[in-house]
Symmetry: C2
């Protein structure tokens, strides 16, 4: 196991009606003037935004609001939020929504107190300081509620990049599974796929003998396999929603990914798809993951075989481990399709003729050197092949 630090000081308030505690949590974590940041109309229509405002008012906390975050959140709104927070002397960012809203909130939190361009953080500079962020989560997916990460799409060039730093870990996150019961099935399935992707990105490691994190990841994958079909069949099932919600946090706060190298090439390859076509990140991952895994499988057949046996219940073919490994990847893809996720470019709305441009932005955009590194280092030719496998 490699040396590591692990520090996850987010306070999680989990369960029914916990959003009613928003005001007291903002106070506890030092907020005195709040930006409520959110996305579209659903948090308005559901009454959630009103409940959150009422909770802040009860604690006599002034607030301003900034809605309009889109899936694959854009740099433009971040710049707007930073200006607003500086002008209004906001000292606490409250995200009400999913991963896009939280990531946009984190970017605003870091950018407001930074002298330069916030995009510096998305070009490799580590985030050392930020305003405190709290979240009220409305979809189990991105894991941003417990992570030090944020992903933003730069509108000038349309590429997605990530930033990281303990300073943008939320101070508190309110996780009420009931808030996710009204999600459309496609969004629920995309969230499940994103969670499974976070687990796979950690599972594909070149570090040897990390049994504890292997087993924890497998346990979370088995949870998703159990609860995914249940929640698609019965969207109101609170217990399934609750298990998925905690799994989504645990999948990405990195307690299950410490001490090992990780992959993240599926995320990198997918980011260009959702940046170009504005598809749901999870849907993009459903198409990307099987292709990437089939392409890199030979790098460590036994790792994929272990995954197939322990998680997908495949019988080990001791004479032909590569068959077991491949069967596990097939099982993943069929599982995702059974949830309603796309299986190829066409279902995703992507186009074969765009592959050269996708590869260019992926491997050369924003100063990259022609390769992306992870479980296997991939060059432009590799990435071209992988995108072609998705057609």
């Amino acid at each position: 196991m490699e040396n590591f630090n692990f520090y996850s000081p987010t306070f999680f308030a989990f369960g029914k009606d916990r959003e009613l505690e928003t005001g007291s949590l903002v106070k506890r974590f030092g907020g005195s003037k709040v930006l409520i940041h959110y996305g579209g109309g659903s948090v308005v229509r559901s009454g959630l935004l009103d409940r959150v405002k009422a909770s802040l008012e009860k604690e006599e906390l002034p607030y301003i609001v900034l809605g309009g975050v889109r899936p694959n959140p854009r740099s433009g709104l971040v710049y707007e939020g930073i200006e607003l927070c500086r002008r209004e002397k906001v000292d606490f960012i409250l995200a009400v929504g999913g991963g896009s809203v939280i990531d946009s909130s984190k970017a605003i939190a870091a950018g407001t107190i930074y002298d330069g361009d916030f995009w510096d953080f998305y070009s490799g500079k580590r985030i050392e300081e930020a305003l405190p962020v709290g979240t009220i989560l409305t979809i189990a997916a991105a894991g941003s509620e417990g992570s030090p990460d944020s992903v933003i799409t730069l509108e000038d060039g349309m590429f997605k990049r990530g930033a990281s730093g303990d300073a943008i870990r939320p101070k508190f996150s309110i996780l009420n599974p009931a808030l996710t019961q009204t999600l459309p099935p496609y969004q629920t399935a995309a969230g499940i796929t994103d969670i499974l992707a976070h687990l796979h990105e950690r599972y594909l490691t070149n570090t040897k003998e990390v049994e504890v994190t292997d087993r924890l990841i497998e346990g979370l994958m088995l949870t998703m396999i159990h609860e995914g079909p249940r929640v698609i069949a019965d969207p109101d099932c609170y217990e399934a929603r609750a298990n998925i919600m905690w799994a989504g946090m645990m999948a990405h706060n990195n307690s299950c990914g410490v001490g090992r190298s990780q992959d993240w090439n599926s995320h990198n390859i997918e980011h260009e798809l959702s940046a170009m076509y504005d598809c749901a990140h999870g849907a993009g991952l459903a198409v990307t993951m099987p292709a990437v895994f089939r392409y890199v499988m030979d790098h460590d057949v036994m790792r994929f075989a272990q995954l197939a046996v322990r998680v997908w219940g495949c019988q080990m073919d001791f004479a032909h481990p590569e068959k077991t490994a491949a069967a596990g990847i097939d099982a993943l893809q069929w599982f995702l399709v059974s949830l309603g996720m796309p299986a190829n470019f066409e279902e995703l709305g992507a186009k074969e003729e765009d592959i050269p441009e996708l590869v260019r932005v992926l491997c050369r955009g924003d100063g990259r050197d022609g390769t992306i590194s992870g479980f296997v280092t991939l060059d432009e030719e590799d990435c071209t092949e992988i995108y072609k496998m998705m057609v």
Copy 2:
């Protein structure tokens, strides 16, 4: 799933040589005068204490020392530590050792700034304030390095009781698996047993459909089953030590136990054994757990059958699930014996004729009402039967 809060703000510095960072971590978390609290001679002989002192000196941090913590740490030394810290105006407690040293440190940390008798906290009062505590762990076992809990033996009456509160969660914990390589096999095995016990206490729940925490617990159990025999056979195996050390923390910081009722009757029943006979807590648990589980198995046969199938690899007997359930408990006991743990009163050094006194202190001591509650509520008759099953 039940509503819950989860807050685990400990900074974990994991890996080789991390104890060399002690001084800078104490400074980072606000210490300016340190009590180094430790146990017997092993941290002196190994040179660890000298390395820790040198690290504090490098940061120009003054310190005093208090050694002498015994396994099953006693109230007497806690009172002594509290007096010392008040007199010397200590503002940071640094535990160098295992669970006993950490628990004693937590008690001193809470007691030093409390006007009343620190034992109030071990009689039901929640700990709201304490001096900051840091730990340098030398055995994977108690999980105290990441937990809000402490267990102390009151010398007046010789019973063990626990206290809890987020204020005594360590600010940082240094986990260097190499420090555990010199442990005698019996202590290593007792630590493994304690970790497995923490997992079982959380697994035995009356909350339905908590798949995510079931799966996480099972993953950690499977890790212990894989790594336990390996580390007993090869005490120098760093990778096995590392997997066990992270599993031990994860088993008890409660990320795998949230949202569900828990048991803790095996711990309660064992505490009287280690209080009366001063045996290793883990050794006591090796004798206690199988007896308790056999006694309460009928309360939820399918839960024990699930454990047997998923963790111990038993074949499910669909016509007789109780046989599968029982086979899982047998497998646990054989596993513990194979590590070198005792299986009965005699091997533990306990005496059948003491059972009435054990039951009296367990069920009536320190204001208890004649029962202990958990997965199943047990009265004096039940506890008598359970102790008899261990003979």
